[in-house]
Subunit: 593 residues, 2 copies
């Protein structure tokens, strides 16, 4: 491999340039070089012009003296920001070195300049702190991408992809491309559809994931499959969703859950080692039930503890009807917050009352340094009651206990949000710290009040735990699955399960989900059929590639790692897409608006 | 990296198995092993049962003795082809070794067998020479993919992808994902469109290529971009086309054509070296004009010479009106075919008269061993005339000269087909031999008789050669481009060009293509606009990944390298897609059929 690589030019030298703007050093002094790039900045200082020339690889300072080179100096005065120029000059060591940039020891004494392309004044500054708002930068995304931060994000994404592919290849996973024009299925999120011209009235769908294809590949014997692949969901967009997103999609045969967790723990460790230079600990595991009980969330941020304490037995013996009527009373301890002022406590009450949280209120207990307690429910509970709660919560003097109550699922969800808020306020969700967690033993099904039916918690191909299989029809809500999520710092990075590999069980599953046998066959006949021809036990996992990029880089949004993202209305404001199409196109597709 | 890789299990051992079916050797004799796989075959021979167990990695022979293990022997009798079993047994060296398979030195003496999954009798045999027809195998593609040949093709494709990505990464190319939900454009092939639910009446389009995005990325400063990416064209399918296909899409900034050809010659050399263990010669180059003149094709198969000879001046001086009226008379020499019989010659005449070729006939000259000539036009030409033609064609005694005549473009196209036919008949298009060619200097535009306008030969973003730019409006047909194709063995593998990077020139180009300025802005406004903000000179190339796989493997079709291809009616017969969607879906999209 080495010989081959040496055969071709590894440098940035082309017919237009001898070097990039990021590679010249003091040792190159005296060399005649040709560079190309964008003008970042021009300054004039007492007869000298200084130009910062930028390309993907860095910034190099160019200088031009009004005394020794009158014409050139004159020419340069007309240049503007973001012009593209080609320059010739001599590398010189600088008097005033700039230790902030790798090329800061040198500058280029200009001898020739050619303008390759002029530029209008850009609509915002191409700087780390641009003066352009979000919308403006999205409209001119091609200019936004010139900035250092988006550039580094895209380079990071590329490097992560390379590492993942090589690791997977090294452990015999095969990347197999699955189709994009597939079949629409009513289960799961809404499909994007593609009208067929050849078969008017019929549609393809864009895949929400390659789920059924990867299962077919297991059936075909490709026991280790992966793919980094675009997926599509026509959902109403929330802050951090995109209609098209990228998945690292994986599947294995002849495995149990343990094999899958081990394999992908290996991948994650490799990524952290290579990309973040961090050797992570073995990943902890927690059942879904425990995660909900201790954190009120199936994706807890475990960078900090602050676990839930259930307090019904300590708080339902007095006259406080709010607590007495509650299905569940839970509390968390905010260490060293016993000094919180009325104002700070009111802020927390306001926080839980926000529509996004939706609680009616919050009870607090301040644990004073003198061992006494001050609470918002002093009217109902005496010091001894509060002491018992504090003991149960493991609260110390100087701590703050926050209590919420309500219906079990709801109050857990609400306190989970308060817990994250407290973690943020107390600086416990540190950037650069990574806590990983496998959440396991998810329930197979989830009841939907609105449509009055069960939905698959993961997807309809997830297998019930063998020991729960008999309950599938009689007590579906009690059935768990060997399904698992990988959570990093409170963000779900991936999820998967052991799959059904038996026609009859798959048919039973569809029945539980309310499909008639005919509907199941119409939608998934190919898969049910396939299972009749010798299906291996199999399972897999899929990681959100965009999200993995953002979490590894401590970003909150995936948009920062997508070259040309859509906005919250699923619109590409740069392209101005979607847009109307011609009457002819509609006619060919047999469609009317 | 090595330490990291060692941390995780490199073997195929999971909870279900200790080894794959491809890895045991004589040295493993005596080991107790657990294998999983599909039953390829069961044979009974005098009290012994032999099972061939297959997985992705190979086939291992299992044996079971009716005397020493009655129950197990009995159990195995009920098994059938393609059942999935898990077996335990002891590795033993074979008496009769099978040198055809890597595991042929051993067999497994069974001690336990568990059926993981039974199988119906498959609709065709899972063998190299399957008894299943094309349509049946496509319907059950998941079974077809169990066969050795499709499996090896997909593994080959995976390996090729890995090599390409690593090579590109090593020379600083960044893989950047571009969007799939883009904007429909009327130029080029027909788009697949995706109706928007959020913006009823508007549509996205699926990209025919990431062309405009990669140009924007150049404008953003990412001077070396690539992507292995799905593209979509809603065309009426010919034999070797698919509505979705994969491209290796590449673009570079601050380059001339020479830089691009050198860079990608490096890639192609690397691929041949790593994947085919062949060190190829520097790739020859030929102008489009010469390719058309010498081979009648812009993608000549140069594994054999048989170049065209233009013969007007040697054949238009007699009374043969067919030749006298022809715009062009051209010939090829089929070496050592001077002995062709009347029947063989008639076959060639039939060949050129087929509607696919569409010629009215063919003139032959047999060069006899005695120095005389026998031709189909002896009535018009004497021996001296024929001698002159033979001399001009460089034909030897014993050769056959084949002549065709007609309108220049048409007769070249027709003789090109006859040339390929002769190459095939004479065994000159050898599998395992690779002749590569850069075809350069393509015309910028192509006149379409039907719509009475110019179309871009490559695409509307291709730059005219600087020295031809002035002719763009006055003599568009004379304008050439720095556009190039890579041809391997007569198949176009890739093509690209130097692009326009100037708003005004791009606008002129659209005008020549018959766009009003308003139309151009509506369709490509974002790109024309972008060029106003400092665009670098740039160019690129795109390779057909499916086709590269097939050509490197000496296959005629790309379908053999696609896991789940569509048929010639763009239908996935396995999924039965496209298919109808629900009234609700249509209503949400604001569509009527």
């Amino acid at each position: 491999m080495k010989e081959q690589l040496n055969e071709i030019k590894m440098s940035y030298s082309t017919h237009y340039r001898t070097h990039s703007c990021g590679e010249l050093r003091a040792i190159d002094a005296g060399k005649e070089v040709i560079l190309c790039g964008w003008i970042q900045k021009i300054r004039n200082l007492g007869g000298m012009s200084f130009i910062d020339l930028r390309d993907r690889y860095g910034i190099t300072q160019l200088t031009c003296n009004s005394e020794t080179n009158v014409d050139l100096h004159q020419k340069v005065q007309n240049f503007g920001r973001e012009w593209v120029i080609q320059i010739k000059g001599i590398v010189a060591e600088r008097y005033n070195k700039n230790s902030n940039i790798p090329t800061g020891d040198i500058e280029i004494m200009l001898t020739e300049v050619t303008v390759l392309s002029v530029s209008d004044t850009p609509p915002f500054t191409i700087e780390d702190n641009s003066d352009g708002g979000d919308e403006l930068r999205m409209k001119y995304r091609y200019l936004d991408l010139r900035r250092e931060i988006p550039k580094n994000n895209l380079l990071f994404r590329h490097q992560l992809g390379i590492e993942i592919r090589n690791y997977m290849n090294n452990i015999s996973f095969v990347e197999i491309e699955t189709p994009f024009l597939v079949k629409s299925t009513p289960e799961g999120a809404r499909d994007f559809v593609v009208p067929s011209r050849v078969n008017n009235g019929e549609f393809y769908a864009l895949p929400q994931s390659p789920q059924t294809f990867k299962q077919l590949l297991m059936l075909s014997g490709y026991d280790r499959y992966f793919q980094i692949v675009k997926c599509f969901r026509d959902e109403d967009l929330r802050a951090d969703r995109q209609p098209e997103f990228t998945q690292i999609d994986c599947e294995m045969s002849f495995v149990e859950q343990e094999d899958i967790l081990n394999t992908f723990e290996g991948l994650i460790k490799h990524i952290f080692h290579k990309i973040k230079q961090i050797d992570i600990d073995p990943i902890e595991r927690m059942s879904y039930e425990d995660a909900m009980k201790l954190y009120g969330s199936d994706k807890p941020d475990t960078r900090f503890e602050m676990q839930f304490v259930e307090l019904n037995e300590y708080l339902q013996h007095k006259d406080f009807s709010v607590f007495n009527n509650a299905e569940l009373i839970i509390g968390i301890v905010a260490a060293d917050c016993g000094h919180y002022t009325r104002k700070q406590l009111d802020e927390l009450v306001e926080f839980v009352k926000r529509p996004q949280v939706g609680a009616s209120g919050l009870v607090y207990i301040l644990c004073n340094e003198d061992g006494s307690f001050k609470s918002s429910v002093d009217k109902f509970y005496d010091q001894a009651d509060l002491q018992k709660v504090a003991t149960q919560c493991n609260a110390k003097k100087g701590d703050l206990i926050l209590l919420m109550n309500g219906k079990k699922d709801q109050v857990r969800e609400q306190l989970s949000q308060l817990r994250l808020e407290m973690g943020t306020r107390l600086g416990l969700r540190k950037k650069g710290t990574y806590k990983l967690l496998w959440v396991t033993d998810f329930p197979l099904l989830e009841w939907d009040e609105e449509t009055n039916r069960f939905y698959a918690k993961h997807h309809p191909f997830t297998a019930p735990k063998p020991e729960h299989e008999a309950l599938l029809e009689s007590a579906p809500e009690k059935v768990n699955a060997n399904a698992y999520d990988l959570v990093i710092n409170g963000t779900e990075i991936g999820g998967g399960s052991i799959r059904i590999h038996n026609s009859d069980l798959q048919k039973r599953m569809f029945r539980v989900l309310g499909f008639s046998d005919e509907e199941a066959i119409y939608q998934f006949g190919f898969l049910i059929n396939a299972f009749r021809f010798g299906a291996p036990p199999h399972g897999g996992i899929a990681f959100g590639f965009d999200r993995l990029c953002s979490v590894l880089s401590d970003y909150d949004t995936i948009r920062d790692f997508i070259a040309f993202p859509k906005n919250n209305s699923a619109r590409d404001v740069m392209l101005d897409s979607p847009s109307t199409i011609s009457e002819l196109q509609l006619k060919e597709l047999g469609l009317k608006l």
